[in-house]
């Protein structure tokens, strides 16, 4: 299960910029990584775990701006096609239960 967060946050005043930076930082502290500017994703081992992270995001959403949360299955994630320019790029692999560095 993957959680995607898309957002458009206003950055007109200093306060808004601060709130936007805070939101971005909070996402990263929750284990999200940047896929594109304002598109963040995270792998969750189970539906329950996805619920936890969704709830956490709700708690730090900034006052203004638009935030969307989407959850998709591993299978759907695998169907993403990435283009970098005109060249197709492979999708970064998701985490496995056992990882060797």
């Amino acid at each position: 299960m993957w959680l995607f967060v898309f957002f458009d946050l206003p950055t007109n005043t200093k306060k808004e910029r601060k709130a936007a930076a805070r939101f971005r930082k909070d996402l990263m502290r929750d284990g999200f990584s940047m896929m594109q500017y304002s598109v963040y994703n995270r792998h969750c081992a189970s539906k329950e775990s996805a619920d936890v992270h969704e709830k956490r995001i709700k708690n730090f959403i900034p006052e203004k701006g638009q935030v969307s949360i989407l959850r998709i299955t591993d299978k759907q994630y695998g169907n993403i096609v990435n283009y970098w320019g005109v060249k197709e790029d492979p999708l970064p692999e998701g985490p496995k239960q056992l990882e060797i560095f």
Partner: protein, 296 residues
């Protein structure tokens, strides 16, 4: 919840940033990020890995089992959280003042579960499980007549052949068994501290030189899962008599193997936390039985 197992075998620097574990291999390859809260078990095998203090703090906050290996790449030490559970002191007290009959009863359940799993394993690999199921059903309180030993005598020879002797410094695959048991022991010790139990005071093991008596007790019914993994490795690599990376990776998979718990199937690492939680409930007299896994 199933947590991730991470195994570091190449040199690098481990630190923490934004509550994420950061692995910097220092050789120009990509820096890797892993959320600390997703990790359950971590092995550091290379002698050229540096770990930062804030990372250790973060790992302990999330009760991650961190195992360090010695220069021979064998698991040697682990980190243990001094405060793993909010009711820790209360549960410690119950555990230490547990009555002798209670401990004997718990040990009886443990031995019965272990022998039952040994029998299941023999059945699974096509060997004759008798008389193990019979032995399992007649374990006495405190296992006074040592059914555990009786079962072991037939068990080992049926798995690894007539000439096999289970001995810490014995011939292959003893080294493989040692490796698997240490991994398992660390996972059990982690679960014990997570349930507020103190791993040094066992229900049966009481060696004064052993700091993990309770872990050694509770892991008994889980040992056949390691034995199964070792058996699989021996079948898959019949000519190998030394550890290498693939074999170690195979052994670490034990932590996520499916086990039967109360009509449900769970990954082994999750099952251990159920076992230790039920053990804590036994000490506080909220429960009578420890939940042990069944080999499937």
């Amino acid at each position: 919840m199933l947590k991730r197992t991470i195994y570091f075998s190449s040199p690098g620097f481990l630190s923490v940033k934004d509550m994420q574990l950061v692995f910097d291999p220092k050789n120009g390859s990509d820096v890797k990020n892993v959320p600390v809260e997703d990790i359950g078990f971590m092995i550091l095998e290379n002698q050229q890995i540096t770990v930062s203090s804030p990372l250790i703090e973060e790992l302990m906050n999330h009760n991650v089992a961190v195992v360090f290996c010695d220069s021979r790449h064998h698991p040697q030490s682990m980190l243990l959280n001094m405060e793993g559970h909010h009711q820790q002191t209360e549960i410690y007290r119950q555990q230490i003042t547990a009555s002798e009959p209670l401990k004997k009863n718990l040990w009886k359940q443990t031995v019965a579960a272990k022998i039952a799993n040994q029998a299941k394993l023999l059945e699974k690999i096509g060997a004759d499980p008798n008389p193990l199921p019979h032995l399992a059903s007649r374990v006495k309180s405190g296992d006074v007549d040592n059914r555990e030993g009786m079962a072991a005598r037939v068990y080992w020879q049926r798995i690894f052949g007539q000439s096999f002797l289970r001995d810490r410094y014995g011939k292959w695959p003893n080294a493989l068994l040692n490796y698997g048991y240490i991994v398992l022991r660390a996972a059990v010790a982690r679960a014990l501290t997570g349930s507020g139990l103190f791993p040094s005071f066992g229900i049966f093991h009481h060696n004064r030189y052993n700091a993990f008596c309770l872990a050694d007790d509770i892991m008994e019914p889980y040992r056949p899962f390691v034995d199964m993994a070792v058996w699989n490795v021996c079948e898959k690599y019949p000519d190998v008599t030394e550890m290498h990376k693939e074999i170690k990776a195979e052994m670490l998979q034990v932590l996520s193997v499916d086990v039967g718990m109360k009509k449900q199937t769970r990954p082994l690492m999750v099952a251990i936390t159920h076992t230790t939680a039920s053990l804590a409930a036994c000490f506080t007299r909220d429960k009578k039985n420890i939940e042990y896994p069944i080999l499937i």
